[in-house]
Subunit: 542 residues, 2 copies
Amino acid sequence: MKQIRLSLLLFFVGILLNNVNAQDIIHDAEQNILIDQYGVEWAKQDKEIDKKLKALEKKYGKKPNIVHIMWDDNSFGEVGIKEFNYIRGFKTPRLNTMAEEGMTFTRMYTEPSCTPTRAACLTGRLAVRSGMYTVAFPPEGSGLPAEEVTIAEVLSEAGYNTAFFAKAHQGDIEESYMHNQGFDEAQFSLYNQFPPIFWHETGEAGQMTVGYTKNMTEKEYIVDQTWRPYGYIMDIEAKKGEKARETLPPTLENYRKLIDVHQEKALDFIRRKAKDDKPFYLAYWPNVYDLNRSGQEFTTSNGTAFAQNMERLDRHVGEIIDELKKQGISENTLIIAMADNGPMTEAPQAMYQNVFNGGKGDYREGGIRVAAFAQWDGVIEPGTVIGDIFACHDLFTTFARLAGATKYIPRDRIIDGIDQTAVFLYGDGQSRRDYYHVYTGPYHAATIKQQYKRVWIGGRPGLVKNDFYDLYADPREMRGMMAQFLWAWGPFDMMKKRHDAMNKKYPFTPTRHDVPFGGIENLRPESKTYVETVKRTMETGK
Amino acid sequence: MKQIRLSLLLFFVGILLNNVNAQDIIHDAEQNILIDQYGVEWAKQDKEIDKKLKALEKKYGKKPNIVHIMWDDNSFGEVGIKEFNYIRGFKTPRLNTMAEEGMTFTRMYTEPSCTPTRAACLTGRLAVRSGMYTVAFPPEGSGLPAEEVTIAEVLSEAGYNTAFFAKAHQGDIEESYMHNQGFDEAQFSLYNQFPPIFWHETGEAGQMTVGYTKNMTEKEYIVDQTWRPYGYIMDIEAKKGEKARETLPPTLENYRKLIDVHQEKALDFIRRKAKDDKPFYLAYWPNVYDLNRSGQEFTTSNGTAFAQNMERLDRHVGEIIDELKKQGISENTLIIAMADNGPMTEAPQAMYQNVFNGGKGDYREGGIRVAAFAQWDGVIEPGTVIGDIFACHDLFTTFARLAGATKYIPRDRIIDGIDQTAVFLYGDGQSRRDYYHVYTGPYHAATIKQQYKRVWIGGRPGLVKNDFYDLYADPREMRGMMAQFLWAWGPFDMMKKRHDAMNKKYPFTPTRHDVPFGGIENLRPESKTYVETVKRTMETGK
């Protein structure tokens, strides 16, 4: 009842403040608890924020550009903190400088793996809501559903130039392609880095290949010669409304070329759009890793392919920032640079569990609490560190707000992303969330509220099945406690009940399936053969 | 043969450079391997260093003051790195500023526990060489032997004012007392913080007391009423040549008072000696921790007594630096601030294994690789990070060099400490060591060379008994490897052989035993009774 009264009050306050857009987005239940407590205050602050943004727009003649750089599988601490460079034996001077000139997040939560985090960023929703909770491998035959409204679509509505380069990993079906999901132009990888790096016979490079080489059919006991995914597509390009074209077939050599090709595409887009009347949104999610040692030179003290790749990533991020400065637009551009999830701990030349325990696929902090930085010269206070909880899907809602595009966010579904513009404008302590629901695959694995974390799944049945952690006292989740946290049992149960009730009201979209590699005009013969096999499977079960 | 020829060459180069002092110190074998490779270069650099130091002396009219602040049991990362403050939920702004204005060490190695590290710093030698390899508890009846030459003795010879305040933990026998080991003035604790914090019945404060309360003798089955150490001494004070006086008897309340008393003594010493003709050496090794929650207020997000104590330590270090600046002597004072070993992981309100695995008492990095900072305004380049290996016993030799007191370092024993003045003057990459031998108690537990670490003890017998680690690739020592490091088997064996040969030539001093609490003029009756009991044990075995 109190909440209804407050909602009504907020409605009228909203009208008064001429800022109703933010109010009618359907957020997850937990956010309503916060709005109930802070709605009036936030509405006031929003008015101030609008003034600031309008002043900036007046100064630069357009809304701010947005550059979202996101790379794979990286522990918090591996980049952007000078001391760690010495501990790990490789250098990231450009990301360290980004932290000094901009903002470092210490509680940026993502989904625990690539495809889900990318889907969450694109849709502003927990990946489970769009059915995008698994990691795509060829042939996935699934991908981001057309009905999902991406940030590219939202910003396009508001008049932004939009581009996507490098690793989408949003599936291999036609509707999922980036140019079919709102981007004006795109060149992107359908899957992750492992197929081209390790699946092919490339001399020494085949060192890690298990079960997938060209001459496999000559081996003993092989009957089915079509079972392995020989004909998959690594990378395609297209403009909005066009059919896609495969760029380079998947080989280690081509993958290595693509890393530089994507980087150059991103730089070129910035050069082409810097002086444009319209602002731009660039999603550049680079394929960082080449964990195949063959043919690489190793110049770091660390000596691993991982470290070598980190130094290249650092240079690449630096080049993007340099280009923005060179074009004179760094004061009207918000740059986000972040990892998409924790380190892949089982990979060859493994990434590393540095500050937190757990890695990719894991609901522990190491899987979901990532390196993340923001820079916006003249707007973000240099050297800011953010202790607030921030979720990767908040970027969706925040980008929309910055672009004046909040009204294009759909109102018929749950949007988990919160408008966090205040964090960028006012700094630490300004987050409008203090919770995060962690999913692994389709399972609700844990819930974080403030400094506390409760795990919903796992191996301990009965009363003590649920691990509780205090993330300040125990950031590595070493000592799950029960008795000390019994006070939090009820409050966490309430959170889950609210969340489950909302999920029931707004059901998850089932994972979308289709024949892979649709809409690609230059399919290779082996890809066509492969598609036919998959099609038969899907259509007839034969 | 090559080495002998080079040594001869160095001898003559040394004479030419008028800097023979550094050459004839007896270092551990490993250092000779380095001198063989870099001796000529270092001799040249030493000449430059002498010029620099002379210029400073001319400018300030005396040698530099030295302040060595060293606290207990603290993980690398807990202080001095801003981002970690947000992860851990407490703030250390003053140590963070120290890192920004001065130097952060990322590979400062100590011994794995309090007493040994303090002995190593005082003597410039691995603690095992002075028999100081265990942690003293009442009644220890042992301590630092008189024949050990401490840094206070060395610097006194060179005309320094010297003072020691707070936690010595160098034993409870008369010859071990700080004022008997070269310090002009001293007030110090004989043991660590646990006896006064947890051994006494102080209402709620007794929460952690196990087996030691005043009314213990009234309990069932107690026969021996003298067995528990009721009469021990917490803290004494004296000037050089005087008998000692107990300050406050051991209670929680008195311990809490002493933390501030020691801080004030340190500040007062700086005030008194700032304008003195002679430079000063202040060893201020504060009793940081009060892990008894009773009666404390908790203002941090972290909420533990540990975090609360960290914030007080940070303020206290800040006050010392402020006082040096206020007195106008920060440009002629080298300040070292560091922990003495890793976190006590089993303590109540536990410290935390943050960046490295392992804690106090452990040969893993978490036990021995500590938070450490240096500041020397105008000399140390602000914001320097040091990736070099630096050992706590290097401070001994380096302080001596800075004081022009190298000639007072004894030449009849192994001095493990290397002169690392170049690190403070020239920054990263200037260390004259790339190795460290790790002892736990009397055992040689591991050897570190460059980024590699080999463990000599442990539970795996046979070929694979020895864990090898690459500390860049695996700073947490999670994945001990063998096959990958078989190339390092021989080189590490050689290191150990050289080290063992030197140990044979210069045998370790056995742990020195005596009756505790000698030379204290105001012994309480219960202390006297207690001493008599111990004396009878030692003298007659009855």
